[in-house]
Symmetry: C2
Subunit: 301 residues, 2 copies
Amino acid sequence: MSLLVTGSIGIDTVEAPSGMVEDALGGSSVYFAYAASFFSPVRFVGVVGEDCPQDFLKPLADRGNIDLAGLEVRKGSKTFRWHGKYHDDVNQRDTVSVELNVLGEVGPSIPPQFRDSKYVFLANTHPDLQIELLAQLEGASLVVADTMDIWIGTEREMLIDLLSRIDGLVLNDSEAMQLTGKSNIVQAGLECSTMVRRFVVVKKGEHGSLLFVNGKVYPLPGYPTEKVVDPTGAGDSFAGGMMGYLAEQDIIDAETLYRAIAYGTVVASIELEDFSLNRFTEIDRSDIDARFAEFKELTTF
Amino acid sequence: MSLLVTGSIGIDTVEAPSGMVEDALGGSSVYFAYAASFFSPVRFVGVVGEDCPQDFLKPLADRGNIDLAGLEVRKGSKTFRWHGKYHDDVNQRDTVSVELNVLGEVGPSIPPQFRDSKYVFLANTHPDLQIELLAQLEGASLVVADTMDIWIGTEREMLIDLLSRIDGLVLNDSEAMQLTGKSNIVQAGLECSTMVRRFVVVKKGEHGSLLFVNGKVYPLPGYPTEKVVDPTGAGDSFAGGMMGYLAEQDIIDAETLYRAIAYGTVVASIELEDFSLNRFTEIDRSDIDARFAEFKELTTF
């Protein structure tokens, strides 16, 4: 099934205990698209500035099943830049600098040939823009969005309006608590799940995730990762693996959703083993399936 | 199989957002013994002072399969007391007061008829005392201990000596990191597992646990609990459910250990639904098995 993603494209500089990269390919839609492309063709929508290096998105183009017709190179604008630094405990990071640049301007438009997309992921951005993008995708059968603390704090009403229009929401545990004011994550997730049409996935980083659907809670552990080089993009890779699997299966029941978050977990666990998209460019679907099988074996009782 | 536990017996006062109890039955060996008794007969070893109310341990005696021959009422001594206060987020608590009393004196001795115990759990106490108790239990085939941050900080060498003599260790994630100096919990747990004979279980509270055995890591999520009244004793109930199940099965392979921590998770998830042992006194093995079946269904992919 057709799967469309809109989100950020970033020029990332990342410092971590095991090394650093400068001006590397990053951004939510980039990690998402690559992760999803292991399962399903992807339609990509995003904007860069004219400073963006030629061939910067070549890793996506080289996949063969990521359609970049929705990539806009905007004249007179600059590409989003992010510089982060991880602590020795890589669960902690500081943002050294952010330049919103083109992300602070009007959003991209959905190319006409993408408007019949059935599966849609609206990566984190201003909820106003997410609503605007959604309006261009009226034929979608499953729309899932990500959000973040800043919008919960400053654009709550607009965010709640967005949630009422979408099928699924992916967010962090702290964000679910912020959105609902509840400190128990099960209560928080259940309340979030009443704000959307179908389901909520609460991400807990290394501790795994919780799926809330049909009033039930399905807990999944994290994949036990001994080698974390760079967690940047893990959340977006999780969402990409999840949505890619759903689009491939084209079934949206609790069992398939749970298997989808298990695939998301596995894909994210591979992504964070190196900087940027480096690990992704070394693997194929069989590596994902092998780790999925191992994860299943480790967690069956 | 015979299962012996040694640990604290406490007169607990607990304040939580949903209420409080004063002078309630608590302590590591008490929670452990009750939890384990759903699976296996338990031999109980512990000390109270002469201030301990008559019939204070009646809930244990009433079980019918907890042998209290190892309970010492020490003349001239006072019972351990603990007063804790949970925050609105019940994952946070303050210790209002602690009176070590009898726990600061010499330990209990193991009654002769208990010395052939095959399964042994040494709940958290000074590692010196744990070693002393262990010396009285030379026929044990599986010895598991708990420990805590204070001993890792102040009695590291003695603790490491203890670990080399036991089969399994149960500890919190922060304690595993403290013991090894590693901030990655998988690395920390793997290193801990080289310090003992067989396995390590790292507890992560609501986030579940990790089993380290034979160089492999088995992650288990927490049971998703919407109603947490009082988390006191949840860790000891986890260990009790785990050890009770192992003693019942009398098999110590990775598969059985993993199922044992799933049982421990389920038993703990019931225990924290009310103060002290209140929930335990309302349930039987069939309630545990029903929740275990539900937990299995929620986590199968």
